[in-house]
Symmetry: C2
Subunit: 102 residues, 2 copies
Amino acid sequence: MSATQQSVFKALADPTRRAIIKSLQRGSQTAGELAESFPISRASLSHHFNTLKAADLVRTERRGQHIVYSLNATVVEEATAVLLDVLGGGRRGKGGREKETS
Amino acid sequence: MSATQQSVFKALADPTRRAIIKSLQRGSQTAGELAESFPISRASLSHHFNTLKAADLVRTERRGQHIVYSLNATVVEEATAVLLDVLGGGRRGKGGREKETS
DNA sequence: CGTATATTTAGACATCTGTCTAAATATATA
DNA sequence: TATATATTTAGACAGATGTCTAAATATACG
């Protein structure tokens, strides 16, 4: 399954990471390709990649010297579902507390 | 309109604040009522309220000594739309607001 | 007015976060 | 092997975040 709900929302809280996600939505990219789109050091970018990987929002695959990043849309869907649940009217299981998968 | 996209995702990044939002989905509550549900001080809770208000995720209304908090579902919907946009394959919304409203 | 209740603000403090530069690791290729 | 390229890791640092206690503010009521 995915990482914790907490790690996903934490990852989504940074604008650079949201931009990375959005960029990957158009297709997989190597770390170097992504780096060309962002005005921060490659080391900082790598740090963001770690956060995104911890949330399972992106997957990686080595291709020669390069590492290819791709979006894991399933986790984005799960985050969407969490928000939709808040909107949904919430007659959840008989007065029971929702299990907050933090 | 709503606050920045950044303030909304920042607000959603904390599990206590997500729980507050979820609690308010069942109906408006006073600060004191909410405080009974969370094992942190009222001062800390008030701090979270400020973050949620900054994101326009909640609205307040004074009722006597009490302050009533209610969910602003519109902003939750907007956050959902941002995530759906990532999933959607980049179809543009009318109005063309592609700018990252960080 | 004076006191009780409800909530927020102020100040402090430890921890987390995003960034950087420098160094390390991994792969490709001459 | 030696060297170049790609990416990550290590260490440092300023600023943000979440929490607390104590004090301040706002309203209600005797």
